[in-house]
Structures are given as structure tokens and as C-alpha cells.
Symmetry: C2
Subunit: 411 residues, 2 copies
């Protein structure tokens, strides 16, 4: 039996409890959607004021040098590297996840000429599939995207596989791929891997170097709390950096951007994957957001994440047994990212009813209610509130109202 007392005791003993103060969390809201948009870290408003009013307003063009703007993609990348087990100089922050994935899919196909296939799975976030098939199409020749079921990926890797491109944690189910095993399997078959860490970065320890990952991308507005549409990031293993090339040959990926040569010469290292002028306001916000991870042991984050998910599943079964919810995520916490999905035929209306009570998760068609648990600010006792609201909504059939059935979808 899970009780309020159980949960309060866990909060009292939580070694990450002090991190909650690093975020602004609105009054009257229980937030379980940090896997879609992380909340505002406390240091961001002051940093935005500095970058806008002092660096831009007073420093003007001089700030490209004096305020370190030019270094931001690499500096922010370096901070992200430390959260995902990447080597120094292997990550830059720039552009969107989709744009970065395009760069890497093209680069990976060129690393593996003669093999036509990009292999992915049906659990991948659609933009990854769209981008990969867009890249295959523009390159032409025989390149194609092959999509299999998540559990069939390993055995689908074969001699025609150029690239295995997967999202580590499934955005709907939270099911996690075994990064090390699939990477090893791909390498044994002569394929390159690209991992999308959108739902992993900041939510759990990741060991890109240890897993011998070739290429990776990630998102910064979910568990990294970088703000709406924050710049994404991109990883190239040091062993590949001299051989890979970005198809997006913008001036800031040039070896000497301010020489204004007419011909392109890629910069050494990861910098060649920068393209246009970096978006400084957003990079500065992300940089300030990353302070929330200062001194945080990602193993503690993972342990708390699993415990939050396990307790949520336990509470749903204890309190909502007859309400018709299915479990849309692995029951085994070690096979799950930092979210738990429930399924329900009325999932959409139920989520609307929850949101109108200030309890924010999100809905993914056709029937998934998705709850993200972010160990830096989530409290165990929040689960009691969440399940309590769900119980009331189901008991009173509050969801069964026109306003919840018809309301425009919250994205």
C-alpha cells in the first residue's frame, strides 16, 4: 500500500530535493510535461536580461568577441557532453534536432558508400523518419529508409544497412533501446549508428563514448529545460571527425569564416557542423538552464526517475484499478525512460480534464496519456496529487463533458 506518508518520507530523504529550487514552478500546477517542455530554470531571466540589455544593447557587435558569443555553440556543447558521456570537443549546440539529424544522416551515408539502407523503427519520433527519408531522397541513388518494429531492429541490421538511426527512448511508450548492444550489433555488421537522445539527455546517465556511438543528436527543451525551441545539439565521435562532412556548408563551419574565401574548407573537428550564425539569445538561455545540472549525479537522477515511475504505476493500480487504464510503458523501470504512459479510450478528454485542473501531462494519439517525471523538480508527493485528480475525474466522469471532448488539442 502506497500512502501519502510513504511519499512524504521519500521526499524527505531525497538527495535531489534541493534541486527543485533551481526552477520556477507556477503555483497551483503539477507539472508532468517536462519531457515536452522543461520548466523555467531560475537563472534564465537574469541571463536573458544580461544578454539582451548589456551584451546586445550596450556591447552591440563587439559582443561577438567580448561576450564570447562566437564560442557559445562549442561551450554549450561541452556542457552537454558532460551529461551524455561524450568526449571533449565532440558536441556543438546549434540548429534544431531535425536539421542536425539531416546533417548526420547525409554524413553517415557518405561514410558508408555502397550501402543503401537507413534502418529505423516505427517507435521513432516521426520527424526523424521524415528527415531520414528526405535525406535519402535528395541524395538519390538507391538510398532508402527501412522502418521495422522496435523489437525487430537488431535482427534487421544486415549487409545493406548503412546507418542504424534510432531514438533511444520511445516518445510514446518510454521503451528504451539497449544503446550499447545495438551499437555493437551495428558495428559488427559494418553499419554506422545515429542515436537521437531527445528523451534521454538530462533524464539519465548516457555513455556515448563508452558505447562507442558514432553520431548522435539531441533536444535541449525537454529534460535540459533550455526553453521553447531551444537549440539542439549534435555529436560526432572524435574518431570520425576528420572524415565526416556536413551537407550544410555554412560559413561558420568554415576553417576561416572571416577570411571570406569563395571556396569552402571545413573547420577541423566538430566546428564543421556549425552552419549559419548561431542564435545567441536562445543559446544563452540554454547555457543558463544547464546550471540546474551543476553538481548533479546523473545516477541519482536515474534512480529517482525509476522510483517515480514505479510508484506512479503502483498508485494507478492501487487507486484506479477499475477505471480502464492500460499501461503503455514497460513495467520494468530499467527498460523505461523517464516517463510513464497510460492508455485509455477516452485519453484525450481525460488529459484535457486534468490540464484544466492544473495537472499537466500530454496526450499522444490515439489513446496515450503521457506523464514525464523529471527528478530535478518532481516530488514523490506530487504523484499523490496526480493520481488523486485522476481518480476524481474518473469517479465523477468529469472528462465526459463537451468542453473536454471538443477542446482544441494541446500540443
Amino acid at each position: 500500500m502506497i500512502t501519502q506518508t510513504t511519499l512524504a518520507a521519500l521526499d524527505a530523504a531525497d538527495p535531489l530535493a534541493h534541486c527543485r529550487e533551481r526552477f520556477h514552478l507556477p503555483d497551483g500546477v503539477l507539472y508532468f510535461d517536462g519531457n515536452s517542455l522543461g520548466p523555467l530554470p531560475r537563472g534564465v531571466p537574469a541571463r536573458m536580461k544580461t544578454v539582451v540589455e548589456e551584451q546586445w544593447g550596450e556591447g552591440l557587435i563587439r559582443s561577438w568577441n567580448t561576450a564570447g558569443w562566437m564560442d557559445l555553440p562549442a561551450r554549450v556543447g561541452g556542457r552537454i557532453a558532460s551529461l551524455v558521456g561524450a568526449e571533449p570537443g565532440s558536441i556543438i549546440s546549434a540548429d534544431s534536432t531535425s536539421v542536425n539529424l539531416f546533417k548526420l544522416v547525409c554524413a553517415a551515408l557518405a561514410l558508408n558508400p555502397g550501402r543503401p539502407e537507413i534502418l529505423s523503427d516505427s517507435g521513432n519520433f516521426p520527424t526523424d523518419l521524415y528527415v531520414a527519408s528526405g535525406a535519402a531522397q535528395i541524395i538519390g541513388r538507391d538510398h532508402r529508409l527501412k522502418v521495422v518494429e522496435p523489437q525487430d531492429v537488431a535482427e534487421a541490421i544486415g549487409p545493406s544497412t548503412a546507418v542504424v538511426m534510432l531514438t533511444h527512448v520511445d516518445y510514446r511508450t518510454g521503451q528504451m533501446h539497449d544503446m550499447e548492444a545495438i551499437t555493437a550489433r551495428a558495428h559488427a555488421a559494418g553499419a554506422i549508428v545515429i542515436w537521437d537522445l531527445a528523451h534521454s539527455t538530462g533524464a539519465m546517465p548516457v555513455d556515448l563514448a563508452g558505447c562507442k556511438v558514432d553520431l548522435a543528436v539531441g533536444c535541449s527543451y525537454k529534460y535540459l529545460n533550455g526553453g521553447p525551441g531551444a537549440p539542439a545539439w549534435l555529436y560526432v565521435a572524435p574518431r570520425h571527425q576528420a572524415a565526416v562532412h556536413s551537407p550544410l556548408t555554412g560559413w561558420l563551419g568554415h576553417a576561416a569564416p572571416f577570411a571570406f574565401d569563395l571556396g569552402y574548407r571545413p573547420a577541423d573537428g566538430i566546428a564543421r557542423f556549425i552552419c549559419g550564425t548561431p542564435n545567441i539569445l536562445s543559446l544563452a538561455a540554454l547555457d543558463a538552464s544547464l546550471d540546474a545540472f551543476d553538481g548533479v549525479d546523473m545516477r541519482l537522477v536515474r534512480a529517482k526517475s525509476i522510483r517515480l515511475g514505479d510508484l506512479f504505476i503502483g498508485l494507478v493500480e492501487q487507486e484506479l484499478g477499475a477505471a480502464g487504464f492500460g499501461l503503455g510503458s514497460p513495467r520494468d523501470g530499467t527498460a523505461r525512460g523517464s516517463q510513464v504512459s497510460l492508455t485509455h479510450p477516452q485519453g484525450y478528454a481525460i488529459m484535457q480534464a486534468l490540464i484544466s485542473r492544473g495537472v499537466i501531462g500530454d496526450f499522444r494519439a490515439p489513446d496515450v496519456l503521457r506523464f514525464g517525471f523529471c527528478p530535478l523538480y518532481a516530488r514523490f508527493s506530487d504523484l499523490w496529487g496526480l493520481v488523486g485528480h485522476l481518480r476524481e475525474i474518473m469517479a465523477t466522469e468529469e472528462w465526459n463533458q463537451e468542453m473536454f471532448l471538443r477542446r482544441a488539442r494541446v500540443t
Copy 2:
């Protein structure tokens, strides 16, 4: 003879004089580099506070709908459209100029199959040339970039030209191409045009629709004052929108992004050129920046811009005749963008000496001193200050000091 009195009288009669208050301009600075980074518009800090603290901090994920975040690329695009004579629904703001140019070069080549050549000129900003040759390379087949001298573009257009890709105003010389004539010449030869309006947008009237331009991109951190690395924009003429496709097939260019279909289906209209999740903080800053153009007649902007440039050239000749400066821009104001470039063998050191006095222009290798005149905030009397400082620097050989000769280059 141009005197301080002449200039003060022009300021007193300037119908745009009231616009200067729309910007924060630091004390003790004369700013002639708004063509590299526009100054901070007054409304931006409050807007950033709202988007960060209220929309993100309080609204969280709900703000994608309730604060109109999802519409920002099209809404900001619509505001830019009104400054460049574009049809409603023909511009979105997203990504960087380089990324947008890649989308359009690929799209344009696909519109004109069987023709191998992207034609550009040696006055184009290098990133445009890099991106075009990167696009040609990834597409492969016979595509190639051909670069001619600016004055030779029109006659170089021929039956193998798929795309004519030019920057309207040369970033070094300020020389302006005849957009209407070159577009007509390209069309007569069966080619598509892509204009880069980096140095035109916000500096002069542009008539994309009237000139029958096919495709265009532009930058928002120069004369639009959108902030460092502000999102760029992209134009597709309505007549082409159903037939052109972005190679960067990200989820927000999908017809139904939240259906999470596994297959890509492009959105109708310009929205298919959105790729990843829009960068909201930067788009909001740009949106607020555009308020500085409210009620502004771009013909007045152009008239003042030409006058500022003409007077600057006149003053340099009057005051600095023996100092060894050459004119690096057209003398005819109607053939010139909103900048005047001077050349001098010691240009780099001279610009450093100016900057150390708070007089900010920029230097472009090998010998170009570039001064941008932004009619919304430049005063005629500022020219007196600029030329006065230049005269002192040349008379005292202040530039001929170690610190100015050696200092790291201001970008």
C-alpha cells in the same frame, strides 16, 4: 561645403527622426554597424521578460497554443512580407539564412531538372556560395556552382542555368543588383531566381511580387534588428508553392504534425518550409523588433539612406582628401545599398582605432572599412562625428600603434 549646420538642419527636417527613440543606443557610441548587428529595439526587453517569465515560466507547455507560439514563424514572416513586397502567406521566419538557402537551392534545382548550373557571383556572401556548392554536391549528378564577376551575371545566364542565386546588395561594396532586370533575364532564359536580401530587408523598399521573384531568403539581425543570430526568413512565390519541396522534411513542415504519421506529407503553402521546432525566444525578440518599422514608409527610409551615403562620401572627400582613402562603393546612391565602403591599405588598424573611440563600423579583408547607415536611428550629424574621428586618427597617425595593428580582429 558640408558643415555641421547643414547636417543639423537635415536632422531637424528629417521625417524619420522620431524613429531613433525606438532603439536603445549606448552613450558615447556612434554606431555604423547596424548592417552587421542592428541595435536593441526598445520593446525587446519587455517582450523577452513576458515570453520567458510569463509564457514559459507560468504557461509552460500550454503556451504553444495559448501564447500563439505555434503561429510565430508565419506571423513574423507576414510582418517581414510587408517590408519586402511579398504576398501574404509567402514568407516564414525560421532557421538561419544558410539553412534556408540550402532548402531553396535544392527546391529550385528540382524545379528545373535537366539543367546543371547554379549561377552566382564573386560578390556574393561566401556562405551562399558554400551552401550552394554543398547542395550541388549532395544532390550529385551534374550539378555545379558557377561563379562569375558581378557585372557579368546577366550575360552568363544561359540554357544550362537552372538557378540564378544572388545577394541583392554586395556585403563589401554595397553595389546593388537590378533585381527586376536580372529576374526577367533569368526567366527569359528559363531559369529560377533566388535572391538573398540580407543587406536589403529593412534598408530599402523591395518588391518581390512586383519583380516576379521566385524564391528569396533574408537575414533578420541586420537592418531588421532582431538580435544576434536572429531567425532568418524564406520566401516562396505563391505560384510555386504547390510544386516546391524542402529537402529538410521536419515534422513542423508536415501537413498534420500532431497526427504523428510515419510518412511525410508536406503542409500546404509556405509552412512546408518549416523544419524543426521553432525557436520561440528568438522569434519573439524578432517580432518585438519589427515594431520599430510600424508606420514607417520605406521610401523615406531609402531617400534618407541615399542622402546619408552621399553626404558621407562628400564629407570624406572634403575633410580627408589627402589621407589615402579610396571609395569602395558606387558613387551613385541609387546603385548602392545602405552602406558606404572605404578602402585603405591600413584599413584594419584604422577601424580598430575608430572602434576604440566608440565609433563602430567594421572591417572586411583585405582593405575595406564598411559603414552602414540605418535610417531609422542614424542622424545626419553623426556623419560629422564619424568623419571628425577619422580625420583625427589619420592626422595623428593614431592607427599606427601596436595595439591597433595587432589586436584580434573584430568580427
